[in-house]
């Protein structure tokens, strides 16, 4: 036989009409992964990138060295934020279908990533989100009305009608402006963290991107600069298995875990069950302690699943089995935390239903208020001459002329 080279084209585990097979997802038993000291050198803890930190077991108990021992009140807050994120998302999706907004992206199935991680960080820490991290806004207490006004591009839109829906920012809340270009925020977070270290602060930066975006050069810039300068930063890869229709194999996930990308740079990479609220919280706390104590950056891979479409512009039944999410082995983050609280005797189905009802009413009230500030179809609208503002700090003459031209045209 003559030896031949071979081109490998990754194949999704299942496409429409096929049976989902998640045997490719390496899952460690709850409690099985050791929790190293925060000052452990990256080389000594390389295995964290290949196992999976999990705290909640099959019986909804919290077990093992990563158990964060949060009190029931905090867990209930986490549950509330996740549920509010989901109900907000669902309403916005419906509003898009009704033509009230142009576009939307839900975080369905990934709510624990933003909520647990945000709760594990301090309000003074600077967050550089990707587009499916609305849970960060909610956890930091942003009123829904404010988020809805952005999505509506109305007169109260924080972005003054300049950004697609869901690309929020909140300076006071230490939430950076979101870009529509993927991964660009990752190395920016490292720069922010470098500045924090130059100033001698104990604040850290955290950033998120999807596993698909790890293919961008910016991901590698971020890891490199974080490693070189030992920046106090937490770099999070939300591995939700899908980049629109492209499964994680096309980002290189077949060969090595995304967490293992850190090891080549000497950045500890740690893989966690991203649908396990407790494990996600614990791993983030560990990474934050490392950063705050001068032990540098951490790369966290949060293994989760994109339960819905990429956005309101695609139909996932065209590229993956309909029952994919039902068969996802790590379950649903809200359901798992709920069952854990019930097991602790700190929650009931009745209270859950009551909470859902209360939050649903809050979403409704917020929407009713938000649309009074305008929708895509009904006024009031922003004055279009504002489009010339903020291109520069002070408007240069050529923009003043164009602004006057537009206003004259409008009469």
């Amino acid at each position: 036989m003559t030896p031949k080279s071979r081109l490998h084209v990754p194949k999704a585990h299942a496409r429409p009409g096929e049976t989902p097979d998640f045997s490719y997802v390496q899952i460690s038993p709850a409690g099985a992964v050791a929790r190293p000291d925060i000052n452990a050198p990256a080389a000594d803890i390389a295995d964290l990138a290949n196992s999976m930190v999990r705290v909640l077991d099959e019986d909804h108990r919290a077990v093992g060295p990563w158990h964060p021992h949060l009190d029931a009140g905090e867990l209930q807050i986490g549950l509330r934020h996740m549920l509010l994120t989901r109900l907000y998302d669902n309403r916005m999706q419906r509003m898009q279908r009704q033509g009230k907004i142009s576009f939307y992206m839900r975080a369905y199935g990934e709510e624990a990533v933003s909520v647990a991680q945000c709760m594990a960080l301090r309000p003074s820490d600077m967050l550089f989100p990707a587009y499916r991290n609305q849970g960060l806004q909610i956890t930091r207490g942003r009123p829904l009305v404010v988020l809805m006004c952005q999505v509506l591009s109305n007169t109260r839109d924080m972005c003054k009608g300049r950004q697609l829906p869901v690309l929020y920012h909140w300076k006071e809340g230490n939430l950076f402006s979101q870009s529509g270009n993927l991964a660009t925020q990752f190395p920016q977070a490292v720069g922010w963290a470098m500045a924090a270290a130059i100033k001698g602060e104990d604040r850290l930066a955290a950033s998120w991107l999807g596993e698909g975006s790890t293919a961008e050069a910016d991901f590698h810039y971020a890891l490199l600069f974080a490693a070189v300068y030992q920046a106090p930063v937490i770099l999070n890869v939300t591995n939700n298995q899908w980049a629109i229709s492209t499964f994680q194999g096309f980002a290189g996930g077949e060969q090595r875990s995304f967490a293992a990308r850190g090891n080549g740079y000497g950045v500890p990479g740690i893989r966690v069950d991203g649908n396990d609220f407790l494990a996600t919280y614990a791993v983030t706390t560990w990474a934050a302690e490392r950063a705050r104590n001068g032990f540098g950056p951490t790369l966290i891979e949060l293994v989760t699943y994109r339960g819905g479409a990429h956005s309101t512009s695609d139909d996932p039944s065209r590229y993956r089995p309909k029952d994919d999410y039902e068969r996802w082995p790590l379950g649903d983050p809200i359901e798992r935390l709920k069952q854990h609280l019930i097991r602790l005797g700190e929650w009931t189905e009745e209270r859950h239903a009551q909470l859902a009802e209360e939050l649903e009413a809050h979403v409704t009230d917020s929407w009713k208020e938000a649309i009074t500030y305008g929708t895509m179809t009904d006024g009031p609208r922003l004055e279009s001459g504002t489009m010339f503002e903020d291109v520069f700090k002070d408007m240069p003459e050529h923009l003043k002329i164009q602004q006057a031209q537009l206003r004259a045209l409008r009469g």
Partner: protein, 338 residues
């Protein structure tokens, strides 16, 4: 006042600003221990420490991205891209992020980053060490773009750029670092000592961004140009015996069309000269704006003299360079037209 070449003037600007404002930090390839491949940052790491003058990995996209993050966190980074030809890996961070941050966040976030980068040819750099990409940045709304032509402007403009809360792409014509260049590579190099703009104040001063300067008054024709070509145009007009008014654009964005147009209205004739490739070049914008403002004062069509529409070839550097012969031909052409 001291006599400085452009490298010393730029170094003096950085030194002045680092002493005045602890938020000013420098970063880039070889800028720290070594002081930069052109020596612009020489001595600054020794003086201000490793936390304020950072040697960076060879990753222009990472340099600009981390500079943005630092700028958001209250620092005033000055990032050096070693050659303008190397800036393209950072293009997405410059265009989609740096230039758009203030706009997309409705003024809440901004990053006051200055990107310094040597540009232009005439140093036997071949196609990857000779480019003048000003048009590429002028086309991006949200960026200021400047190119000084002498040590005095270099220092004053760089101080303005560092203090500016908007991002500035600061292009340094590297052929001018050590002396003015009159377009004759076979002639002995001239130092800045004999040039009035080689006299530079030691301390703090600004040349404001957004203003062109009449580098030489004249009555017969206006030459609108910037960077290295200011000096080449001056020499060419002298050789041709034509009294040209030379307008040094200096600030490409925002553009000072008033100074340019009032000169052209006065002379009635105009050529636009730049070293960069002509097609789609910034000269096209200049010509469009000049004819719009000055059409009824023009005695002749406006001509452009620019680099050919090819890459900058190593072996044919001086054939590519839009030197005195081509400028003189254009001057004669607009002088003859009536």
């Amino acid at each position: 006042m001291a006599i400085m070449n452009m490298l010393q003037a730029l170094n003096s600007a950085l030194d002045t600003m680092m002493a005045r404002d602890p938020a000013v930090v420098l970063m880039g390839e070889d800028v720290g221990y070594f002081g930069g491949v052109f020596r612009v940052t020489e001595g600054l790491q020794r003086k201000y420490g490793e936390h304020r003058v950072l040697d960076s990995p060879i990753a222009e996209g990472g340099i600009v991205a981390t500079a943005i993050g630092m700028g958001v966190h209250g620092l005033r980074p000055v990032a050096e891209i070693q050659f303008a030809d190397y800036i393209y890996p950072a293009y997405d961070q410059i265009v989609s992020e740096l230039a758009r941050l203030r706009y997309r966040s409705a003024g809440e976030f901004y990053a006051p980053v200055t990107i310094r980068t040597p540009c232009g040819g005439g140093i036997r750099g071949g196609q990857t060490h000779s480019q003048s990409p000003e048009a590429v940045f002028a086309h991006v709304c949200g960026l200021k773009v400047v190119m000084p032509s002498n040590p005095y402007d270099a220092k004053g403009l760089l101080i303005s750029a560092i203090e500016d809360d908007d991002p500035v792409v600061f292009l340094e014509p590297k052929r001018l670092y050590n002396g003015p260049f009159y377009g004759e590579p076979d002639q002995p190099a001239q130092p800045w000592n004999n040039h009035p703009k080689g006299e530079v104040p030691d301390g703090y001063y600004k040349v404001p961004i957004g203003y062109a300067e009449v580098a030489q008054e004249g009555s017969q024709v206006t030459i609108v140009t910037y960077g290295t070509m200011v000096h080449v145009a001056q020499a060419a007009a002298r050789t041709a015996g034509i009294e040209a008014e030379i307008v040094d654009v200096r600030s490409i964005v925002p553009l000072d069309i008033h100074t340019i147009a009032s000169s052209v209205r006065k002379t009635g004739r105009c050529i636009v000269v730049h070293e960069a490739t002509g097609f789609g070049g910034f000269g096209g914008e200049l010509v469009a704006q000049i004819q719009q403002d000055c059409f009824w004062h023009l005695e002749a069509p406006i001509l452009r003299v620019a680099g050919w529409d090819t890459p900058y070839p190593h072996a044919f550097e001086w054939e590519y360079f839009p030197g005195p012969a081509r400028i003189i031909a254009a001057l004669k052409s607009v002088m003859e037209a009536s």
